[in-house]
């Protein structure tokens, strides 16, 4: 099996908020995205851009992958400012076509060469915010091998469609389903939260975040972009197989193996029917649990090292 990308939580912090940036590493996010876009007022953009290179390594102290969200209108300057060692990838907003992805990828390739970074090491997260983006999903996810994830920004999508979402009606079942299907078909990770927090993110009790993140996972999402640090822990938990799930899937594997040995691949177990795809899924769940544990161990090792050697910037 190919290795599983564990990027459950991606904490979005504004480069205009110094305190947020300095503390981002403490929240146990699998990834942190330093925002140069919507979170930064226009007059602060040049300063934010100037600071982003120095923010990369400190933000990674907790073991998170570090991304930067760039502006589509100042793509070249923003990429020039942030493609440096320590950067895992770029979050590209307002993607409407394959050409938008290709443009970012080309600039990144040039910068990687100039700055002696391994070519291809900087990945892309494409963010879809318009009807055109939803329609062109297939060519967008296939536009560059750098695309590792694709997200729907449902707040901006609603604005772009001119709709005011109602509290009781999810307007994006189709769009979200299409993201999950097209991303999976291209072996790219779909990321996003479940409705209603997908369209109107806000701080909420951990149990609510956990329930909706679980729903997002069971809709085909592989992680959530977290606009608040308080989302990170429940999102990580929701995307980590529970011990009950691990135990069930171990029983599935045992029952299936016993069935095959006895000449059948259709095995009843606790009211369910276990056959090849159920066993295959059990393998995935068990491998995901292991990969999550490995990622968590990596992060706590990084974190304990960071607390032993405080960063100079503090």
């Amino acid at each position: 099996m190919s290795s599983i990308l564990i990027r459950r939580s991606n904490l979005l912090v504004s480069m205009a908020e110094r305190g947020q940036v300095e503390n981002a590493w403490r929240h146990d996010a699998d990834a942190i995205t330093l925002d140069l876009e919507s979170g930064v007022p226009p007059e602060l953009k040049p300063a934010a851009r100037a600071q982003v290179r120095e923010a990369l390594q400190p933000a990674a102290r907790g073991g998170a992958e570090i991304f930067v969200r760039v502006n589509d209108s100042t793509m070249s300057e923003d990429l020039d400012a942030c493609v440096w060692p320590g950067l895992s990838g770029i979050m590209v907003p307002r993607v409407e076509s394959a050409a938008d992805v290709a443009e970012a990828a080309e600039i990144v390739t040039v910068l990687e060469r100039e700055r002696r970074l391994p070519v291809g090491s900087v990945s892309l997260i494409a963010v879809i915010e318009s009807a055109a983006g939803v329609w062109h999903l297939r060519s967008i996810v296939a536009a560059s091998p750098r695309v590792s994830q694709v997200a729907l920004d449902e707040g901006d999508l609603a604005a772009s469609l001119g709709i005011e979402p109602l509290p009781e009606y999810d307007p994006f079942v189709y769009a979200r389903g299409r993201v999950a299907v097209e991303a999976t078909a291209a072996r790219v990770g779909a990321i996003g939260m479940a409705y209603p927090l997908s369209v109107r993110p806000r701080e909420a009790p951990g149990s609510e975040i956990h329930a909706l993140a679980t729903k997002a996972r069971n809709s085909g999402m592989k992680g959530v972009i977290c606009p608040y640090a308080s989302w990170v822990a429940p999102v990580n938990a929701a995307f980590t197989p529970t011990s009950e799930l691990v135990a069930w899937n171990r029983r599935v594997r045992e029952a299936f193996a016993a069935g095959v040995a006895a000449g059948t691949a259709a095995v009843p177990l606790e009211g369910r029917m276990i056959d090849v795809p159920v066993d295959e899924w059990a393998i995935v769940v068990l491998a995901t649990a292991e990969a999550c544990a490995a990622r968590d161990a990596q992060k706590s090792a990084a974190k304990s090292q960071a607390s032993e050697t405080p960063s100079k910037s503090q």
């Binding site: 297939r138 079942v173 189709y174 979200r176 389903g177 299409r178 999950a180 299907v181 097209e182 991303a183 999976t184 078909a185 729903k215 996972r217 069971n218 809709s219 085909g220 592989k222 799930l245 069935g259 095959v260 000449g263 059948t264 691949a265 259709a266 009211g271 369910r272 029917m273 056959d275 090849v276 795809p277 159920v278 295959e280 899924w281 995935v284």
Partner: protein
């Protein structure tokens, strides 16, 4: 009109399932060479298909075979025999796979004295890539006469990385894409409205009835099949119109005759509108009910014949 309300998938290597399948009152039986057959028994499984076709259809059920995605040639050679009605092709992802299957079936129909073009193809959509290419797949062969995506398939769930048996509808998009393709191409629509199954039980007869009734009330006619004999009777029942619905349909047609004679286009009786759309709906319902009754009679006669011979 094919009446295919209920069906069971039977592992061809498990003799007690195959031998008893004809007793289950299924409209169709899917003889499985795929996911219920262990890898080391695949070759042996192929040798059993010809007899299984005759056996499972003794009670009047149509015999289908589910072949393996990766051994199409051998499986088709083992399956295309008189009595076979349809081949289900799992994990279809591209139209060219259907073209190849079509050509293989044509070859064996010719060689084995089966009327050309009669064996259907049922391409299963079980992966995200299959959903992405769904229209091209549905349009890939004249042998495809019914089409749909599963209401909660194990394979599609595995591919999307989702746990099944949750309390919300996870397959709105795949089902929508499948139905759109089927209706655009004028194919029979095989789908079902979402009815939660949070336990994962395959033998819940009550849920089977609720599911089939919900489908019937949406105007759907084709069953999606099952895995356990406990659900068959309720799939048959749930997709067959009730006496009350038949009386109502007859009443609508009588009222519509009055409307027609008066030269009007429509009238209202209480809160009901009687017009040509309602009349067409009532007529279709009565035709469907007649086809169900005919199918039930065929099956009962077939079962009686087997019992008489025994």
């Amino acid at each position: 009109m094919n009446v295919r309300r209920s069906g069971l998938t039977m592992p061809v290597v498990t003799a007690r399932f195959v031998d008893n399948a004809w007793r289950r009152s299924c409209d169709f039986v899917i003889i499985d060479l795929e996911d219920s057959v262990p890898q080391h028994l695949k070759a042996h499984a192929r040798t059993l298909v010809k007899d299984a076709i005759a056996s499972v259809s003794k009670g009047g059920a149509e015999a289908f075979v589910r072949i393996n995605h990766d051994s199409m040639e051998e499986d088709v050679e083992a399956s295309v025999w008189p009595g076979l009605k349809r081949i289900r092709y799992p994990k279809t992802e591209h139209a060219h796979e259907v073209h190849r299957l079509d050509a293989l079936i044509t070859r064996y129909e010719g060689a084995r004295g089966i009327e050309p073009g009669t064996i259907e193809i049922d391409p299963s959509i079980e992966t995200a890539l299959g959903v992405a290419n769904i229209f091209e797949i549905a349009a890939a062969s004249a042998r495809i006469r019914e089409f749909g995506a599963a209401t909660g398939g194990y394979d599609l769930s595995r591919d999307l990385g989702i746990e099944m048996f949750v309390d919300f509808d996870q397959f709105v998009y795949p089902r929508g894409e499948a139905e759109l393709a089927a209706r655009t191409l004028g194919l029979g629509v095989r789908t079902a409205p979402f009815v939660a199954n949070t336990t994962g039980s395959v033998s819940d007869a009550d849920r089977a009835l609720r599911q089939a009734e919900a489908a019937r009330k949406c105007g759907l006619r084709l069953g999606t099949g099952g895995l356990n004999p406990a659900v068959v009777e309720n799939h048959n029942l749930g997709l067959t119109p009730t006496e009350e619905e038949l009386r109502d349909a007859q009443w609508v047609l009588e009222q519509y005759r009055v409307v027609e004679e008066s030269g009007a286009a429509w009238k209202t009786i209480g809160e009901r509108v009687i017009d040509r759309y309602e009349a067409a709906r009532a007529k279709e319902l009565l035709e469907w009910a007649a086809a169900c009754a005919e199918r039930n009679r065929e099956k009962a006669e077939a079962v009686a014949r087997v019992k008489a011979q025994a």
